[in-house]
Symmetry: C3
């Protein structure tokens, strides 16, 4: 009774990402780039810059993991086949006559299929990142987690930096302050795969890949069909937070009050008190920027 | 009849950049830094920071190519002779009594000479970058193009990042959104030298170097004498754009309209519609910042 | 009479930073992070981001020196003991019930002790950075100075970039335009240790470490007790500036006037004249951002 399961998971873990799943990943990334305001105009006025942004969207995770491991960030450019694939998808998405691709992509089933296949590539990226980091630091499991996380979900950071350099700053572009849902799930997966890699998790790799991918795809499809923004992990997070950091509310208000009136030693108290009400003003500023 | 030509180009391609052309390059870069508003005041109030900016202006391309190939960005500091040369030029430009250097540099012929010699160093940089990248990735011709481009014209990107870190953000500082003319010409040259290096261009290296340098210098001098902003490549670009991307105007307006009303899948439609009129507001913001 | 002195300095230079001085360094860094406005709220709403900021505050110098030497920026994550130490200090500082740690830290003597011990670690970092860079470039003494400086005082640069990416831009966050006092002292120390390393300074290493540490601690403690902002180096700087750059005021006003009316060659004169009054407007902008 175990054998068919093992065969299934083994065959699944041996699936090649190359032609189809990569295409789905590139399609979703380029469509996300196109749905940015002004992206189409920028593509017409300066195709090279738009192509560069598309490459950053498609290969951002790999670039970030290369940077974190001090490898050439341009290494992804040596894989000519994938570059050609991503470039052609960028081309048909942006310059297809009568915008056929966007029209076809606007159908819900196609979006679901593409998003699901993109999530499959996420698993492969995390596994690749963990193995890659393990090649550098034999038992640096924190590095393995970080690199797996970066390769799986680091594209958002790269594109945020790109937005920053391009001048149109996106306050919601930072993945640190409030992590997006894929970011959290990727971190969870990176931790699991790292512990599986260091033999602390008694499960075979292909089983974990299979289960984690199923988990990813189901959550993603559910989130897309019911348009709610990732409430699935909230109870789990709440439990963890309460378990780690104790009674949250009064604690927080207490220490927050302290932070307001604390006398600081290095002269930053003035700016602190001055910037005490910074968040609302910044929110206002962003609102002004966005209306 | 061929021999004198070959002798000429060979001798030219063996010219050493070191004393004179480097001096011209450093002079033009430091003068560009000095003509920035507030640069002189900053040099007086904090010479070290001004010296750092000058070094970034002089060696920015090399720094960027080092970063892209994961080499130490500080490698340029090991070339003590050039550092000393650039530092002394920075010193006399900023702190020369009675500002003699700036007065001398304000004469048109001297500017023309210096700018022309700077363009000559550009060719050498591109060739060096292409060969450098080729040492890493044997047949990664995209990497060779990128590194040659970065070393030839990457200084602007480095200085833009520096501006960003220093707080005085320059919206026109990004080289991606609207490439400057040297940036385009450098990309063209990087492509040509890469294809020559991979034997796809049936021309000897020294001939290509000679012709490309002549092309650069003539265009630069023409642009400086007739104060027009690089209209020379426009017809060529238009042809290329039309050849690649078809009928531009109606196409663009069509897809632009679509981009405005497209229902997006990952909840970024709201922000898209909210930020639909972002460019004008941002332009207004920059205007407010600059007046 | 010399022997006890040598024994003392040798024993001092062999002191291990690990348990106690590192703790003091982490404590001061995390408290500096906590005294930032909104840091406590961010820690409660997103502990992972706060932990990441704390790690950047604790290990920023090492990260920057790794980047400058093209080593993996994640290398600091392989030192599990220090990571665990810093994380636990971050935990008790932010989530200790009733905020006991902050209350205890708000006492002057404890702050003095912690700050003094942190300055001791600064010496060790500079020495480590100089030796580290010397392992790469045998006689690249500029690189040695830069890396020693980066490891000793580079944390501020890393945290400034982090602030930049997080969206709450701090105009006083840039260390280049107006260097903070620790930055200057670290640069001084880095120069001294580099020249000692290259045998240009006829003093034994442990003596220099001892004297420099005494110098650092005394200045830091004095500055903290008398709340003045680092006026100690001003006469020295003035002398150096006058020695290097001559009569400052009239010179500067002269060249400043020139910079305003100078005709520039590459069309940046318009923006220069437009942005001639940029600083006040930017100051106003920051004021608007901060009120």
């Amino acid at each position: 009774m175990e054998y068919p399961w093992d065969d299934l998971t083994l065959a699944f873990s041996r699936t090649s990402m190359f032609p189809f799943f990569d295409i789905a990943h590139y399609l979703v990334s380029v469509m996300a780039l196109k749905q940015r305001p002004g992206a189409v105009a920028a593509a017409w006025s300066n195709p090279l810059s738009s192509w560069l942004s598309a490459m950053l969207h498609c290969f951002g995770g790999g670039i970030l993991s290369c940077i974190l491991l001090a490898e050439p960030p341009l290494k992804f450019l040596t894989n000519h086949t994938n570059i050609l694939l991503a470039s052609s998808i960028w081309y048909i998405v942006f310059f297809c006559p009568r915008d056929l691709v966007s029209q076809g992509y606007s159908y819900q089933p196609i979006q679901l299929l593409a998003a699901g296949m993109k999530e499959v590539t996420r698993t492969w990226k995390i596994v690749g990142g963990v193995a890659h980091a393990n090649g550098y630091y034999r038992n640096g499991w924190i590095v393995m987690i970080a690199v797996g996380w970066a390769r799986g979900a680091g594209g958002a950071i790269i594109t945020a930096c790109e937005q920053l350099l391009k001048g149109d700053w996106k306050p919601e572009g930072d993945e640190w302050l409030k992590m997006s849902f894929p970011c959290k799930v990727t971190l969870l997966g990176s931790i699991m795969f790292t512990f599986q890699h260091t033999r602390h998790l008694a499960i075979s790799k292909h089983d974990l890949m299979f289960l984690y991918t199923i988990f990813l795809v189901t959550i993603k499809v559910t989130m897309m069909m019911t348009k709610d923004a990732a409430v699935t992990l909230t109870p789990f997070e709440d439990t963890l937070t309460r378990m780690l950091f104790g009674r949250q509310q009064q604690q927080f208000s207490l220490s927050e009050k302290k932070a307001e009136v604390k006398p600081s030693s290095n002269g930053s108290a003035s700016s602190a008190s001055k910037r005490g009400t910074e968040p609302p003003s910044s929110a206002k500023r962003h609102a002004k920027k966005e209306d």
